[in-house]
Every structure is written in structure tokens, then in C-alpha cells.
């Protein structure tokens, strides 16, 4: 899901523990076997150079923007490292939303009632999803969708929450363009505000236009964007701890 919304929720926990330590702790605490296995796969140390980090680009299409009111409709993910995206490992699932599909969201992602009629409940594919995420750092464009939605969905089905670090390619763009609104002088000269939406951000790196609003294609688009961001603004040696949130 890509959007230009301001980050309204802060990350739920501001533990002093590092992510690898938290994963070890969570692995012990988790009662659900699927979650346990996810945590046991571990998390790379914050000082790991980004070139050595296994990533997974993740994107959801949802019925709306509020995880407590809306549901996930589809999930796309693509495993990758900074030098290679493996299309062969990409996955896409349609899942049955718990809440009604709004006409407005249909117009956005194009998934209709007929499509999801046959779709499984997220619980049935949770195994697969968690296995695909295990041991990898998720990459999203706009962190306030995927993590909170997955958290609510997992909690609703297992009674437990799920925690993991993410790389947010939109946050990276926001960081690179702190003054996105042109000042009065620039406005006078016709300067447009800098957009950090997924498609617009990709343009700045010479990445091709992909049709938006398909979870798998958007995931792929964010994976490519991160590759480009690191090559242009960071280094393969940049520690992952500098980028994750």
C-alpha cells in the first residue's frame, strides 16, 4: 500500500532491547507455534552491512486505512538482497476480509467480491506468510499499513501480537527530501512539491512505471526502490540498524 499520509501512529514499543535480542525474547514468550518459528529464525544484528541482509518486500491491499476497522484483501511479497530480486520466490495471496469490501476500495485495487468469495481466511495462509518473512527484514513503502494490519490480523487469530523491524522506503524518501513543500519563492517560480509516493519516488531513480495497486507489483516496486536508494544515497556497507524502524 502506498500513500502520502503523515505517519500518525508511532511504533508501538520503544524497548531498549535490540531487535535480535527482542526476537530471542519473543521466541521464548510466543505460544503460537507459527509465531515461535518466525521469531526463532532470528533477526540480523543492527551492525550487519545492508549488502548482507536478506530482505522481503511486502505489500498489502486493504479495504481501508484503519487496521481496527478495515481488513487485508491481498498480500504480495518478494524475497531479495540488494544485488538481486528473485522473482521465482515471489508470492501473492488473496484473503477473505473479515469486514465488508467497500465499493470505494474496489475501485482502487480492483479486487471484487467474486475474487474473494473463494479466497481463504488469512489464518489458513499464515503459515506460508510467516515462513516467507522468517529470517528476512521486511521492506514496505509507508510503514503504517503492513505492520499494524498484520499485527491486528495475527492478534485476532492467535491472540498474540507480532513484532518485527521494517525498512520503509517512503520514510527514506521523506528523510532525503526534508523540505518537500516549496517556499513562497519557489512556488512563485512554479516549483512543484516533491512527492514521496511510490511511483513518483521510482521516477527519480530511473525505475520504470509499473501499474499500481497490485500487492505483488507494489512489493516488487518497493524492492527495486530500496536497491536504487542504497546505490544512490547510502553504501552497501551501511549498517542495517541505521535504516530500520
Amino acid at each position: 500500500m502506498s500513500g502520502d499520509q503523515k505517519a500518525t501512529t508511532t511504533d508501538a514499543r520503544t524497548d531498549t532491547l535490540s531487535w535480535p535480542d527482542r526476537f530471542r525474547q519473543l521466541a521464548q514468550q510466543a505460544r503460537d507455534t507459527r509465531l515461535k518459528a518466525f521469531y526463532e529464525a532470528g533477526c540480523v544484528a543492527p551492525e550487519t552491512p545492508v549488502k548482507d541482509v536478506p530482505f522481503v518486500a511486502l505489500d498489502f491491499e486493504t479495504t481501508g486505512l484503519d487496521p481496527n476497522q478495515h481488513s487485508i484483501v491481498s498480500i504480495g511479497l518478494v524475497p531479495f538482497t540488494l544485488d538481486r530480486i528473485q522473482l521465482g520466490g515471489s508470492r501473492h495471496w488473496l484473503v477473505k476480509p473479515q469486514l465488508p469490501l467497500h465499493q470505494t476500495s474496489i475501485t482502487v485495487h480492483g479486487i471484487t467480491h467474486t475474487d474473494i468469495y473463494e479466497a481463504p481466511d488469512l489464518a489458513e495462509v499464515l503459515d506460508d506468510i510467516l515462513a516467507s518473512l522468517a529470517g528476512r527484514i521486511p521492506v514496505v513503502h509507508y510503514r503504517n499499513i503492513e505492520r499494524p494490519f498484520l499485527n491486528v490480523a495475527v492478534k485476532w487469530r492467535t491472540g498474540e501480537e507480532i513484532w518485527f523491524p521494517v525498512i520503509d522506503t517512503m520514510a527514506i524518501e521523506a528523510h532525503l527530501h526534508p523540505n518537500r513543500q516549496p517556499n513562497w519563492w519557489q512556488k512563485l517560480r512554479g516549483q512543484q512539491p516533491v512527492s514521496i509516493r511510490l511511483a513518483d519516488s521510482r521516477l527519480r531513480y530511473g525505475l520504470p512505471h509499473y501499474p499500481p495497486h497490485n500487492a505483488l507489483v507494489d512489493a516488487l516496486a518497493s524492492a527495486e526502490l530500496l536497491m536504487a536508494q542504497v546505490q544512490h544515497h547510502f553504501s552497501p556497507e551501511t549498517p542495517i540498524g541505521d535504516l530500520w524502524l
Binding site: 504480495g76 531479495f80 544485488d83 538481486r84 530480486i85 528473485q86 522473482l87 521465482g88 515471489s90 508470492r91 501473492h92 531513480y205 530511473g206 525505475l207 520504470p208 509499473y210 501499474p211 497490485n214 500487492a215 505483488l216 507489483v217 516488487l220 524492492a223 527495486e224 536497491m227 536504487a228 546505490q231 544512490h232
Partner: protein, 625 residues
């Protein structure tokens, strides 16, 4: 493949060699793809490194280099690289660098191998040698044009009608009427094996017998045509057509070894190739004045377009157009002689340049000259020949063959000279070669007698062939001139790419394409003492002497054919669109097929120029665009 990746599949499906792949195969390719991103300036493939992927440019642009660091190619969206290494040694032969931020789809070698083994179109496209790719492209084209490649036997509808050559005129006419044929073959039956000795046609009966009021008892051998022009059973219809065009005959006996299998008439071919160039040519000879010829000349572009649409190859089209031009000249000379009276001394009217090479197209000017008998006396005779030359030249101009800007026309006194003076000219060009002067006289080394004492031209051809092959300085100078015009390196997006890396909007397919080839082939042909004029025939002659290795000959032939046919099609399209045809091409006017194979052809020409420089030790002169 995940159905959601259809966007990637669609992109591949728009570009060769993926554009003709079945969907299941494409799905297999997409599922295997790995994606990499390279910033502008980043090295993608290093020389000698192992490469296990076919690279497909999804966005951005790259440059390929030779090992020497010389620019080899510039590629953009939808183009592939890395196949050379995959096919050969699995190591990189041409290093590649991103010149823009580039997103590359990588297709692993197992899939490449699979495609290579299972998809012929893919295999053709990624062939290691550019040359073989060009050949397969040409042969695919040829396979698809059945009508033009039909053999003459298809036109033979009956056993030949023959008579002994001892029959009398009336008997011959009776046989022809009874059998309903327009030509009768006359056999010499004096030996055990009857032998074809002559032919008599309806037209002959009219012009040679009736109009002369010959007695019906006249022996047929008195008026029959002997020294027959024939064709063979394995000849193509277009070849028979060219033979008719060239010799202005309307009937051709078809021979199988020493036996006559049948006769084909002009009308048979006209029926087969209705509205063909032959029809136009036969009409030319029926015109009684310049006005009539001018009217008829408006048909020339249509005939040209028709041949292109029938998928004729460049040799057929070039010969047919030259045949038409030759016929206009011949008819004008006949009309001129009718008007001015018979020539005071014998002479030969020569065609020069593309007409002489049988490589004429629609955009052409007239290049001609006169070789006069050595008894020519300027004071007494030149007035006549100037008037005749002027009549022909003006007539040609009226028929769309523009005056030669370099004044290489028989109207120029310098090019209206006795045979002995022509020999002096050629001796001087060959024995005292000067680059500048040779540049202007190049055109005289493509010559063909088209009217009158054509043996004068044959004598000159022999004279040139004898002298040229022995003059290393002349050949070196000619080679140097042949290197003045080079082909472009290739194309990049909407630009023409030069070896220097510079880009241009258009290029001239004649100056940068066909002309460099015919120039360099002329040098080799003169070096091996060939009297052939046509580029393909010269190549054949060169091949026989082993002056260039055999595959070199084949490659050049393919390259020339391909460039020529693209040029021809470009002109045909302009004519159909109601535009003035020319030789300037913009890359966006070319199909992806044409672009990719033109690049291969340019490569061949470039190699051939390097060989020419080396072979004749030619110093490189100035560069003419």
C-alpha cells in the same frame, strides 16, 4: 509464474526475441527472472568475468565495448546483452557499463539454454555470429516470397513446337498457325542428334518476310534468328525476365542440357507477373516521341513499388529498374537517330554507375557517355553526336532521370570521345592515380554499352581489367577512396550511433550503406581482373579467385542485400505515401527487425573495410559524411 507478474511478461512480449514466444514459455522465463539495479556509470559485466545470465534492459541504457575499449554498441529498453559470453565460453567478451540508471532483468543460463534448444526464433536472434543471423533473416524472407522465386518450367505449358530448319517460309507459317504458337523453333537435323539452330516469331514473319514481300519459298534459315538467347529449366522466372529485359527479346527457348524443353514468351511472364516491369519495357519501345515516353515514365515508380510489394530481392529490383532506364535510353537513341539521320561514324552509348551495375532505383540521375569510332573527326562529326547526346539527355531528364550534377553525360565533350581517347583516360587514371581525380572518375569503372557498337565498351572493360589488376598504386588509391564513407555503428533509441559515440537523427542509406559496399567490392573486382559490373556478380568473381575468404563473400552479399532492400523499401513506402522518395532514414522509421539486422550488416561492412585497408595497404583519407 504469478499471474500478477503479467506486467513483466507483457514487457518482454513486446521485444524480440520474446515477441514470438508462446505464453507458457514466457511464463517460464518470467518465473526465472532475477532483477538488478545499476547506477549510471556502474560496470555491469567485466571482461573475462564469468557471466551466467542473459541481460534484458527493462529501463535505462548501457554501452558495450570491445576488448580494445572501442565502443561496440549502445542499448536501451527492451534490448538484450550477455548472450555472446553465454554461447561461447561463459565469460564476458564485451564488457558492459550502465550509462543511465538501469533496471536489468537477468535470465539464468539454464533458461537461456532451454530457449536456445527449443525456440528457433530465439536461437536465430541470439546467434553468436551476427552474420549467420543476417543470413537466416534473409532466407526466412526468401522462403516467404514464392511467386518471385518460381522457376521458368512453371510457365511451360506444352511440348516445344519445332520444325527442321530446312522448311520454307510458308510451311513455317502454316505450322505456327496450326499449332497456335507465336514462335517456332527450328532444328538442325543434319546429324543424329537434332540441335536447336534458330527461332522464328510472328513478329519476324511480319517485319522480315511480309513487309519485304519475300517469296513463300524462301528458306526459313534465311530469316530466322540464330545465335539464340536461351534460358535453362532451373532458371527462376525473374532471371528469364531479366534476360528478356537485357536483350530485348520476347521469346526464350528453355533448355535442359542440350535438349529444348519448351519456349516461354514475354506474354507468359506478363501473365504471371501482370503489370510487371517487362510490360513497361515493351511499352517503352512502342512510344513514338519524347512526350509518349514522358507519359509512360510516370509508371516507373508504380512498377518499383509493385516489385517491392511482391517481395522481389534487391538484385531483381535493381536489374529491372536498370533495364527500364536502359530501355528509355535505347528508345531515345532510336528516336534521335530517326530525327537526326544515321550516325556519321559508328558509336556506342554507355551507361555508367548504378545503371551499368544493374543496381538502379527510383531516385537516380543520368550518368552516360559516348565512345566514338576511332575514325571520328570532331570538325565533321561532333555536331551530330552533340545533338544526339543532347536529345537523349533532355529526353531522359523529361522522363525523370535528372541531369548529372557532376556533368558526367555524353553532352559533355570530355565524355564524348573516340575509343582511343577513352583508353588514354583509363590508362591515365590507372597508371597515374590521384586520390581526388579518382574520386570523380570512380563512376567510369562501372560501365555498360547499351546502344550501337557495344563491343567498344567490351573492349574498354577488357582494357581496364588487364591494367587495373597490375597497378598496386591504383588499387591502393581506389581502396583509400572506398574507405571515405563508413557505415554507422548502429542505432540507439531514435538515434543513429557513430563509432565516436556521437548520435544523429538521420543517416543516408546510400552514402553510408550501399555505396561503401559497392565501392569496396569494385576494388576487389578490379584487383582480380573481373569484367563484371554488378556487385553480386563481382562478388561471385571475387569468390572464385579466393581473394576474400568464402564466408567473407557470403557475408558481404548478405549485408549488401539487406541494406539495399531496406533502402528500397524505404523508398517504396515514401512513394506509397505520396512523398518524394530519398535515401535519408530516421531510426524510428525502421522496424526492430530492420534495426537489428542493419546493425549486423554495418558490422560486416566495417570489417570488410578493415580488410580492404589491410589488403591494399590503403592510407585513410579524409572522411566524407
Amino acid at each position: 509464474m504469478q499471474a500478477e507478474l503479467i506486467e513483466i511478461r507483457n514487457h518482454l512480449a513486446q521485444h524480440a526475441p520474446f515477441d514470438e514466444m508462446p505464453e507458457e514459455t514466457l511464463d517460464k522465463v518470467v518465473s526465472s527472472i532475477e532483477i538488478a539495479y545499476f547506477r549510471a556509470g556502474a560496470e555491469i559485466l567485466k571482461f573475462g568475468e564469468r557471466n551466467a545470465y542473459l541481460h534484458y534492459i527493462r529501463s535505462g541504457a548501457v554501452e558495450m565495448y570491445r576488448r580494445s575499449g572501442e565502443l561496440y554498441n549502445r542499448l536501451g529498453e527492451g534490448e538484450i546483452f550477455g548472450q555472446y559470453g553465454l554461447l561461447m565460453s561463459k565469460t564476458v567478451r564485451f564488457p558492459v557499463k550502465a550509462i543511465e540508471d538501469s533496471l536489468i532483468y537477468l535470465i539464468p543460463e539454464e533458461i537461456f539454454q532451454y530457449l536456445w534448444e527449443n525456440d528457433d526464433n530465439f536461437t536465430d536472434f541470439v546467434e553468436v555470429e551476427d552474420r549467420s543471423r543476417l543470413r537466416s533473416a534473409l532466407s526466412r524472407r526468401e522462403k516467404s516470397n514464392q511467386p518471385m522465386t518460381a522457376r521458368v518450367t512453371r510457365l511451360i505449358s506444352r511440348e516445344p513446337v519445332t520444325a527442321p530448319n530446312t522448311v520454307r517460309l510458308q510451311e513455317a507459317a502454316r505450322i505456327m498457325t496450326e499449332q497456335g504458337v507465336s514462335a517456332l523453333l527450328l532444328m538442325d537435323e543434319s546429324s543424329d542428334q537434332p540441335r536447336l539452330s534458330g527461332i522464328i516469331t510472328d513478329r519476324d514473319l511480319r517485319t522480315r518476310a511480309l513487309s519485304e514481300a519475300l517469296p513463300s519459298e524462301t528458306p526459313i534459315s534465311d530469316i530466322m534468328t540464330d545465335g539464340l538467347i536461351t534460358t535453362t529449366t532451373n532458371a527462376f522466372i525473374f532471371e528469364a525476365m531479366l534476360t528478356m529485359l537485357h536483350n530485348n527479346v520476347h521469346h526464350l527457348p528453355v533448355m535442359e542440357n542440350d535438349r529444348v524443353r519448351g519456349v516461354i514468351a514475354l506474354s507468359d511472364i506478363v501473365k504471371h507477373e501482370s503489370q510487371s516491369s517487362l510490360y513497361l519495357v515493351s511499352n517503352i519501345y512502342h512510344q513514338q516521341d519524347v512526350k509518349g515516353l514522358k507519359q509512360l515514365s510516370k509508371e516507373v515508380p508504380n512498377t518499383f513499388v509493385r516489385m517491392v510489394n511482391e517481395d522481389a530481392n534487391s538484385h531483381m529490383i535493381g536489374s529491372a529498374m536498370a533495364g527500364i532506364g536502359r530501355s528509355f535510353s535505347q528508345r531515345l537513341l532510336e528516336l534521335g537517330e530517326e530525327k537526326l539521320g544515321p550516325p556519321p561514324v559508328p558509336y556506342c552509348f554507355m551507361a555508367l554507375g548504378s545503371m551499368a551495375r544493374d543496381e538502379q532505383l527510383v531516385v537516380t540521375d543520368q550518368d552516360n557517355a559516348m565512345v566514338l569510332d576511332d575514325s571520328f573527326d570532331p570538325a565533321q562529326h561532333d555536331e551530330y553526336f552533340l545533338a544526339l547526346a543532347k536529345f537523349v539527355s533532355d529526353g531522359l531528364a523529361a522522363c525523370g532521370y535528372a541531369y548529372c550534377t557532376g556533368d558526367i553525360m555524353a553532352t559533355n565533350q570530355k565524355w564524348r570521345q573516340p575509343l582511343k581517347v577513352w583508353k588514354e583516360y583509363f590508362a591515365d587514371w590507372i597508371e597515374n592515380p590521384k586520390a581526388e581525380a579518382l574520386l570523380n572518375s570512380n563512376i567510369f569503372f562501372d560501365l555498360d554499352g547499351i546502344h550501337g557498337r557495344t563491343d567498344y565498351t567490351e573492349e574498354l572493360k577488357g582494357f581496364i581489367a588487364g591494367k587495373a589488376s597490375n597497378s598496386q598504386r591504383f588499387l591502393a588509391m581506389l581502396a583509400r577512396n572506398a574507405l571515405n564513407r563508413t557505415p554507422p555503428l548502429g542505432f540507439f533509441r531514435t538515434f543513429v550511433m557513430e563509432e565516436s559515440g556521437k548520435q544523429a537523427k538521420t543517416f543516408n542509406l546510400k552514402r553510408r550503406g550501399t555505396a561503401p559496399v559497392s565501392d569496396l567490392i569494385r576494388v576487389h573486382a578490379l584487383a582480380c581482373g573481373s569484367k563484371a559490373q554488378n556487385t553480386f556478380n563481382r562478388l561471385k568473381a571475387i569468390g572464385e579467385t579466393k581473394l576474400i575468404p568464402e564466408d567473407g563473400v557470403d557475408n558481404l552479399r548478405d549485408a549488401f542485400e539487406f541494406i539495399a532492400i531496406v533502402r528500397i523499401r524505404h523508398q517504396a513506402l515514401a512513394i506509397e505515401a505520396g512523398r518524394e522518395p530519398d535515401n535519408n532514414v530516421r531510426p524510428e522509421d525502421l522496424s526492430p527487425f530492420e534495426r537489428s539486422h542493419l546493425k549486423d550488416a554495418f558490422q560486416v561492412v566495417s570489417q570488410a573495410q578493415k580488410f580492404l585497408r589491410f589488403r591494399y595497404n590503403a592510407q585513410v583519407g579524409r572522411n566524407v559524411g
